[in-house]
Every structure is written in C-alpha cells, then in structure tokens.
C-alpha cells in the first residue's frame, strides 16, 4: 500500500520498458562493411569533429577509476564461481582490483586484509541488465521522470546516460543488494527507446564517473502494448502491425545511412554526408557495434522480431521481459538470444498474462542463456531471491537446477548479454574483483549481502556505517538510525 500512486505509475511506465540488444556476430560482418573492432577506431577522431558519424564514437567517455583498494583475502568460505562447481572451504585473493587467485588455498601477502568467511558465501557481483536507476530516480516525482522520451515512436537518438542522476538514492541501495553492474535503459514507450548505458554501481559526481570502461552501448527496442498505447492517439503506431512497420521503416533508412557513411569513412571523398543521431545509433547496430536489448513479452512477437533482425542483418542480444520465452525456448536457443526474465511477474497486462515461475528453468533446460533481470529498483536488490524462486519452480517440474547453475543467471549470463563476460561475471583469476560476500547461502531468504567490492575496493559493508554510501539526496531527507538502509 506504500505510495500507491507512485508505484502504479512506475509499474506502467518502467515495468513495461524493454531493451533490445544486438550482438556483434559473423552475421553482422556480412552486412556491415566497416571495421568492427574497437581497435579499428579511427585514430584521427578528435574533439570538435562532431559533424562526423564514426563507428564506436565515444563523445561522453568514461572517467571511472577504480576506488582505492587493499589486498584482501577471504578464507574458509563457500565460493559460487559461475565458472564451474562451487569451492567449499575455499579462499579468494583480491589484489590490484583483480581476482588474483581462487581455490582451496591461495598465497596471500602478509599485509593482506584477512576476512574469515566461515558459514558465508562469495559470488561474483550481481549484474542487472534491466535497470532504470538514475533515469527514474527516487523520489518518483514528475521532475525525476527521465526514462521515456515519449514524444515520437522512434527516438534512437536519445542516450540514457543523459538522464542519469548520479545522486539517485536507489544506487547505494542496489549496491547493498550485491549489484555491482547495471545496464540502465530508456523506457519502453517507443519502438526504439534509445541507447542504454552500462554503469558500475559507485558513487560519483558525474555519470561519466560511473560508466563501465569499454562497455558497448545497447539499443532499447520495445514490442507490443506500450508503443501502441502511447502513440495510438498521437499519430501511431496504433496496432502491433503498425509497430512492425515502424521498425522496418527505420531499419531501411538506417541501412542507407550506414552505407553512405561507411563509404565516406573509407574513402573520405567529398563532403561528409549529413549526420543524424537517430540513424547513427541504428547504423551502429547494423555494424554490430551496439547490442540490441528488446523488450518483448509474447512468444509470437519475439518470433517476428527475430525475422526482422534476419531481414536487416542484425542480431538481438536478449529479449527482456520475455514472460513467454518458455514457449519458444527452442527458437531462442537456436538463435543464441538471451532470455532476460523475472521470476514471477505476470498478469499485470494482457501481454504479460502467461508469465510462469518455471520460465527460468524451462529456458535453461532448452539451452537458452537465462538471465534474471529486475526492471525494478526494489526487485533489483533481491535478484538472488528471484533466482531462488526459479530453482524451486524447476524442481516442481522435475528440472534440477543447481545453485552453481542458478548463480550464472545473475552473473556470467548477464555479463554475456553486455558482451562483458571476459571482464566480469565469474570468479576467475584475472577478472575484475567485483565480488560479494554473503552472510550465508545467497539463495536463502535469510541471507543478505554483507560486503561488496568493485574492482577490489570495498564499497559496502553492512556492519560498518562508515563503509556505506549515502547520496546527496539521502542527507537530511532520509531519516537515519544508523546501520544499513
């Protein structure tokens, strides 16, 4: 009953958002004619060339630097690695911002901070690939409603990072839930909602200071009810067939734009073509440089979105809110598209009617990359509990999901969806030291994140108020009695 009005409004706006992501794949190479890797980024790119449309342009570069860290060893702890079987009574060494070593025992320097993990668990930091923190900041007043550029159905020109308020008090609460990386997306009012941004969940004066270095952008696309509801009386689309016509029309223009610019970037002949922010984002998708995250509830609509991707030669990285993913789990597995889903949301609108708790287990069983996502600032703090529901739902169908498997839904699978799985998402030597120490088994309702490190720096300690981030908004507005939020 809390805050009925705000909750209801948020549910409609934000819970409908979905993102579409497209993964760079061999398929893309066949349709794109420009170089695809970051290494190929035009070294002549300099400030002040804003009239040019270049692959991997990075006009708002990350200024994130890891926070100061101490070499830390956690001993006598159960480690869910997301890379293999659990290690019981294990040890993990965090050094220089990286996971230095992990195993039954590790060699730690004499001056390392030693933490006794008896009875506790270590996991990789949780990654939520469907967040609106900062773009729908708390408190949810109209002034903080920055997530949907609901002015026209195609707004691929907006970038979520330009709405992110780093002082959103929801960020530290998310961190306290063990979440270390977020993909913040525009909402789902539009066919093309705009670019996402991948953030480290860290305090910063600017959004640039939170941006995950080197992370690709995502493009948010949305199927179904939301665009047609928002635009039905504002010039359309008014129907699902109108939605599909809208996607295709935009991709046709984007493909022309991509050809024009790829040609010019290759030969630099004559005046450069006119730059268009909308088409630039879509062209980057066609080049494979931006990942498509596609909000889509219904199985039949997902299948249509897959056909559109085939028609224009891009890939969908993950369907978000795929409440019916289980109905086409075989198709998603074949296409290599991730299923970013809730544990038990459904029924809140017609297209969400067939949500079932077994969605995670059934997609997992079919070989889909299953991802637990939140789309909710509260649910995001308990993604471990969401996955626990998924384990149990599998058990009821006779599908055995181990905790070693379920932890992947929260870590390495979402890391893959962001194309960051070489850096984060598992406990393996050399990976970023984004690590959570849990008070117990993370799939128990009684367990809470106790300590959270990002790049080896301790950024949350439930038992030490001095290690708890309070945003500017928290000061004065939020009553404190000490201890964690």
């Amino acid at each position: 009953m809390r805050n009925v009005v705000f909750a209801a409004a948020f549910f409609v706006l934000a819970c409908s958002p979905a993102t579409g992501s497209q993964a760079p794949t061999p398929k893309v190479a066949s349709t794109g004619d420009s170089a695809k890797s970051k290494d190929s980024k035009d070294s002549t790119t300099t400030a002040g060339r804003g009239a040019l449309s270049e692959p991997f342009a990075d006009p708002f570069p990350s200024t994130y630097k890891p926070f100061p860290s101490k070499t830390t060893v956690i001993r006598n702890v159960t480690i869910l690695t997301a890379a293999g079987p659990r290690i019981t009574n294990g040890e993990i060494l965090l050094e220089d911002g990286k996971i230095q070593s992990v195993g039954a025992s590790v060699n730690a320097p004499a001056d390392a901070v030693v933490i006794d993990g008896k009875g506790k668990f270590v996991t990789p930091g949780i990654i939520d690939i469907h967040s609106h923190l900062g773009v729908y900041s708390a408190p949810g007043v109209e002034a903080n409603s920055d997530g949907n550029e609901a002015t026209r159905p195609v707004t691929a020109y907006v970038w979520a990072e330009h709405s992110v308020w780093p002082q959103d008090p929801q960020f530290p609460r998310n961190l306290a839930g063990g979440v270390t990386t977020l993909q913040v997306l525009p909402g789902s009012a539009n066919l093309f909602g705009g670019r996402s941004v991948v953030l480290k969940v860290v305090p910063s004066r600017t959004v640039q200071g939170m941006k995950f270095p080197g992370a690709k952008y995502g493009l948010k696309m949305a199927c179904g009810e939301n665009p047609k509801r928002v635009y039905g009386n504002k010039g359309g689309p008014q129907t699902r067939m109108g939605n599909v016509a809208g996607y295709r029309t935009a991709w046709i223009e984007a493909e022309q734009y991509r050809r024009k610019w790829d040609k010019w970037n290759a030969d630099k002949k004559g005046d450069p073509p006119a730059r268009d922010l909308n088409l630039e984002t879509l062209a980057e998708v066609l080049r494979g440089d931006i990942l498509v995250h596609n909000h889509c509830y219904r199985a039949d609509e997902m299948a249509q979105m897959i056909d559109i991707a085939h028609e224009f030669g891009y890939r969908i990285r993950a369907f978000h809110h795929g409440v019916e993913a289980y109905k086409i789990a075989d198709l998603l597995a074949k296409e290599g598209i991730g299923a970013a889903i809730w544990a038990d949301w459904g029924g809140f609108k017609m297209e969400a009617l067939d949500g079932i708790r077994a969605n995670m287990a059934l997609t997992q069983k079919a070989g889909v990359k299953t991802i637990v996502h939140s789309d909710d600032p509260s649910g995001s703090q308990r993604l471990n509990q969401e996955a626990a529901k998924g384990i149990e739902a599998g058990k009821e169908l006779g599908i055995d999901i181990s905790e070693d498997q379920a932890i992947k839904w929260l870590t390495i699978n979402p890391a893959w969806a962001l194309d960051l799985d070489s850096k984060i998402g598992s406990i393996e030597p050399g990976k970023d030291a984004d690590v959570v120490l849990w008070s117990g088994d993370p799939f128990s309702v009684y367990t809470r994140a106790e300590k959270v490190w990002i790049d080896g720096a301790l950024l949350f300690d439930r038992n030490d108020a001095a290690e708890q981030w309070r945003t500017d908004f928290d000061l004065g507005f939020v009553p404190q009695v000490g201890g964690a939020q």
């Binding site: 009953m1 809390r2 805050n3 009925v4 009005v5 705000f6 909750a7 948020f10 549910f11 409609v12 708390a138 408190p139 949810g140 007043v141 008090p169 609460r173 509801r229 289980y326 109905k327 789990a329 075989d330 038990d344 949301w345 459904g346 029924g347 809140f348 609108k349 017609m350 009617l353 949500g355 079932i356 708790r357 077994a358 059934l362 079919a366 909710d376 600032p377 509260s378 649910g379 703090q381 308990r382 509990q385 626990a388 384990i391 149990e392 739902a393 058990k395 009821e396 169908l397 006779g398 799939f443 128990s444 309702v445 009684y446 367990t447 908004f473 939020v478 009553p479 201890g483 939020q485």
Partner: protein, 429 residues
Amino acid sequence: MKWSVSSSALAFVAMCAMTTAVSAQTIAITGGKVYPVSGPPIEGGTVLMRNGKIVAVGKDVAIPGDAERVDATGKWVTPGLVNANTNIGFGDVGFSGGPREQQAKGHDGIAAGFQVWLGFNTQSTMIAPAREGGVTSVVATPSGGLVSGQAAILDLNGALALTDLLVKALATMVAQVEDDDGAQVGAAGELIGKLRDLIEDTKAYMRRKSDYERAQTRSFVATRRDLEAMIPVVEGREPLTIVADQAAEIREVLNIAKDYGIKVVIAGGAEAWTMADKIAAAKVPVLTGAESNIPGSFSTLGSRQENAAMLRKAGVQVALIGNGAGDEELFNVRNLRYEAGNAVAYGMSWDDALRAITLAPAEIYGVSGSIGSLKPGSEGNVVVWSGDPFEFSTRAEEVFVRGKKIDAPSRQDMLAKRYETLPPKYNTP
C-alpha cells in the same frame, strides 16, 4: 503444486481428475512439526479436522478410526496464511485489459458505501497460485479516493458461491491520507479536515436520521449510503484501515483515532518506525512489509526494511503485507511468506513473522476465532510445508481450506505443463 513432483503427462491427467476439493469428513495430519501460532510449537503433533473445522491439536490426540491420515513426518504444519492486502478476485489482468472491480467512482472522493466483495469473482485464476503459496485467506481490499470502501475477508476454497467463501463481510473500512489528488483535495490539511467532516457528519446523521429523511438537516459531505456505511466505524465496531506512510500522516491518523474513539489500522506505514512508541501506546496495529527501503515518494523517505521488526519490538501489533513492488496484491499474493522471511532477515523474530502472516491479521480484523491459528473451532485452514515456510526451497505440499484438501492446478501450472516439451500439444493438458 501438488502434481509437480511427477513430470509425466499421464500422472498429470490422473491428478487433474482429483484436483477439486478432495472431501473428507475427518482428516488427521500427523507427525509434523506443528505451529499452532496461538500456542507453542508441537514436535510430532497432530492436527485433527472434522466437517471443515479443526477439532483438536496436540501431541496426543486420539485419532478416530475413520479419519483420513496425512503423514506429515518431517514436515512443518502451520495455519493457512492470511494476506491482509489483496486485489484478488477483482480482475485478473492488472492493466490494459479486462475488468477491474476494486475502485469505486464514489462521490467527491468518498465511497464508504462501496462493498468491494460484491464484484468478487470466485473463479479468479489468481486464487490457485495464492493458495499454492499457502495463502488460504485474504482481505479483499478496495482502493482509490479518500474513503475507498469496505473490505471483506474470504477463504480461498474454490467454491462457486460467494457465501461459501466469506469469512467476514464489512471487515474494515478503507481510506487513505497520503494522496491529495486521489482524495480530491489540494493539501494534506484539507484531506484530514474532510475525513473529520465525514466522521462528524456520520454522527450528526445518526442522531437525526428522521430529520434527514424529511430533508430537514444541513447538507452532509457524503451520501446516505456512505453515511450508513460509516456508522459501525464511528461506533468503534468496524476498524478503519488508513493508508498512511509519512510520519506526519501517521500522526494525524493517531489524532483522529483518539479524538473520535474509533479503531484505526495503519497500512503502509513506511515511516512508522520513527514513532513506534506512540503507535504502540495508541494500540494501533500496522500493516507493512519488509522489502522496501526506497524513498519512492516524499511520503516514504524513511522507508526501511527493518520497519516491521522495529515496530514489533516496540510492542505494535504488526501484520505483514507485500511491499516489494512485485505485484503482491494480485499476481504475487502467494509471496507473502517471503515477506515474512525478509522481515526475519531484517530483525524480526521467526515466531513474530509467522504470527504477522497468520494470527496477527486475523486479530486485527476480528476473525481470530475463525482463521489464523490452529485451535479447536477454527476453520480447517492448514498448510503442510516441506520445510521452513519462509524459504524459497520450501513448498506448500498440502493445502487444506475449510477442512478440504485443494490441489487444483493453477493456470500457470497448466501452461508450464503444456510447454514442458516443445512444440506443445494443444490438447494437453
């Protein structure tokens, strides 16, 4: 849920055939770890039900020869859970489709005469999932306006007739004091004044009914139907549940309760912890959750997950309701037990948390003689759990409502079964 152990389609069909209430006059649940809530836990206890009611609970209960025995060895046995804040039965689709029957239009924000349960669909597809989560009774609650209407308490027993579900009609009047627009006022002070006017006009109406019928009174802020509905509230016979989150809102609710001597219940109560002692002293119960810590509005800046535990510690009667923004009023009424688990994680004792989803709401709404505990005379609402009911790895293995085991699969179960192998067969299940 019951059928889930087996994954074969044949078994499923077989179980479907016996889904609807298996009727047994006398049932003995034996050998379990029994939590009566109204008394201390009993290891290896027996719960004996006859003709829909609980007739005995204890260690050494004589089991009649004709009793159907349910072996609960190694299991946990609790009362059916009571969810004190649901929209169940008023439309299965939250948004963009189908009927929604929980919000009246009212007159100038007042719909006191609105009896929400008259729109209750006893065949709602949301009933089975709730039951699978061990919830056997709900407070079906209206929303909107200043005074939303009146709630009823219902058992989720799958009966067709509303009269076979009703535990108590007129369980509580529901109002809210945090949304000025909803109440059709411009400011909090105006809202509180309007609520006071309604109470005072009800008293005037009660004194001068015959004058009113002859149109010889001044005009009142509410219609005759609304004023009539408010009578049991101002007489202190029916509680007034008021949605209030901010400390200032709660303060005014306490003032109204004191000034008019009416029984109030605070729902939401995000900042209740900041004035727990005052609430305890006023003997005002609070319905709140343990999953919100977000300053989602300027009324909930002090929202924290320890709220319920802190209130309980101060001596406040607390019933847990969902507040994790996961549609706990409808699709996830079933998740009430996880709210309790989270309350424990944030400082509440396990026993208090179980009480907060069983006996506490029953006491708050005056139905503790019927539901909320395992004691002789209560309805046979009993759940046999595979383990600790608050844990995700635990299942409600057997759910009895009014003495009958109900294991009808939910629509969601049927969908899972249908799509377990692809492509699906559209005649199965």
